[in-house]
Symmetry: C2
Subunit: 291 residues, 2 copies
């Protein structure tokens, strides 16, 4: 197993245990069941990024796992709401019925709401850090990354694009992606530095490159992927007539751009030397994955 595959497997186990603990502490209800369901599985890319960048800065995974669980809750909430009939109207996620299909729309709205709340509860867990200033900085940066200036803005731009008179330009799609996918990936990469009170700037270039590469890879998968492997509906963008990196650049140029971004991400990690090898592998995985 490569360094990244091992880190991903170990991280996924830690994150699942932490989520069990946090969700298990809520009173029994359909909401609690839905939260456990919606946070199960997935690649844990964001959570593993937190754990890896934390390790790079000497922060123990037993501490950092609360930040990793927080970003996975935030990501899961965005998927639950994004899958709703009024949004992307998806029935399948990670090969399973989406929350509003398994339960109902009202429960899915509330499950998403409660998962967002749980992200902030995880970041304020006293087991994450002894330094309240560190925890507060993570709360603040997560709020800024996920709200009306970050992820939610990206989602709104994405919805607006569906009814726009003309397809988006490359600049517009890049801005959309920077919010929708990029902001949480960047938070995840910077979290490790913030936990150690280190400067998060060196990881920012890495995060911005892999965030964009991730979205280009998603657009490529939407065209070339296997829906069964992906566990979700594909070819959605073409059906909706939406501009994507693939429709704008063409498949080959999109692949080349993604590869160039991965090289850029690896270059950004040079100051960290061999210790950053797992993060380099993670960058390569972002464009090599088939789900």
């Amino acid at each position: 197993m490569s360094g990244f595959a091992a880190a991903q497997a170990d991280g996924a186990t830690r994150i699942a245990a932490c989520l069990d603990d946090l969700i298990g502490a809520q009173p029994e209800s359909v909401i609690r069941d839905g939260m456990a369901y919606a946070t199960r599985g997935g690649k844990r890319l964001r959570g593993v990024l937190v754990l890896e960048t934390a390790w790079l800065h000497g922060v123990a995974p037993e501490r950092a796992v609360y930040a990793a669980a927080a970003i996975e809750c935030l990501h899961a909430y965005s998927l639950v709401h994004d899958d709703l009939p009024a949004m992307d109207d998806d029935d399948l996620r990670r090969g399973q019925p989406t929350v509003h299909v398994k339960w109902d729309e009202a429960s899915a709205i509330l499950v998403g709401d409660a998962l967002q709340t749980l992200a902030f509860e995880a970041l304020s867990d006293p087991r994450m850090t002894d330094d309240p200033a560190v925890a507060l900085a993570l709360v603040r940066s997560l709020a800024q990354a996920s709200g009306a200036a970050g992820m939610v803005l990206g989602q709104a731009l994405d919805i607006a694009a569906e009814t726009a008179a003309a397809p988006l330009s490359l600049d517009e799609i890049t801005r959309l992606q920077a919010g929708k996918t990029g902001a949480l990936i960047r938070w995840s990469a910077e979290a490790g530095a913030l936990l150690a009170r280190a400067d998060p700037a060196p990881l920012r270039r890495y995060a911005e490159a892999i965030g964009l590469a991730f979205q280009i890879a998603d657009d490529i998968l939407d065209v070339t992927g296997d829906a069964e492997k992906a566990g979700k509906r594909l070819q959605k963008d073409a059906e909706a007539g939406k501009a994507t990196f693939v429709s704008l650049l063409g498949l080959e140029a999109a692949r080349a751009r993604a590869a160039a971004l991965v090289a850029e991400a690896e270059a950004a990690l040079q100051p960290y030397g061999a210790e950053a090898e797992t993060l380099c592998e993670l960058a390569r995985f972002v464009i090599a994955r088939d789900t």
Copy 2:
């Protein structure tokens, strides 16, 4: 103007200015417009509770207003989502079209999501306090009050009640209310003490009594109120055949119970002496209001 009316007017002005500032700092988008729209107006009862309990503990309103704005964002998010077709399906709120009517469902889901995020951004604003431990305690208690163990749990119980085989008992409705309305009111009352690093316990009894009185008054208004004055649809519970404090206790006994709770709330404030007079008036307002 009574002490409470003046405090409410002053608080509403401060809170509106703070919300303008926080929302105005987001990039221009339909989400930002919807957030401004959804947080306009209202009684600001929760925000004023924060400002009043802060004042009681010597915390300046210029500081406490960030916590007041946070709870108003949280409350507004819950209303925007609660009004959705899949939830209560309401077209009117504070006399205006609800967010999903004025825009669309997808925007309303995202506006609610972004308002919840903004609540945590407000609590992590460096202008609220110089002590990160204080801000973090407010983040943690708001997450616990509003998530799957608090407000969202109450909303889920409320939805489940609509399809339950038998109407809820008084105990069950009291538990539902403690989550749905009570948890945020309690947070608001305790916030002032937390901001001053004082013990919030003395305010808890006050908050629990007015929280329950508030919901009983809501049930009474739903039966006896004027929809035009209330700015929202009334008689919803009777139409839905839902058990309420009024259907279970009868109108007169419900009124008596609310009045007894207000007396209990006033008694809980005795240790604070004359300084708590405005909070006593607020308790009386909770059951005297006509909207």
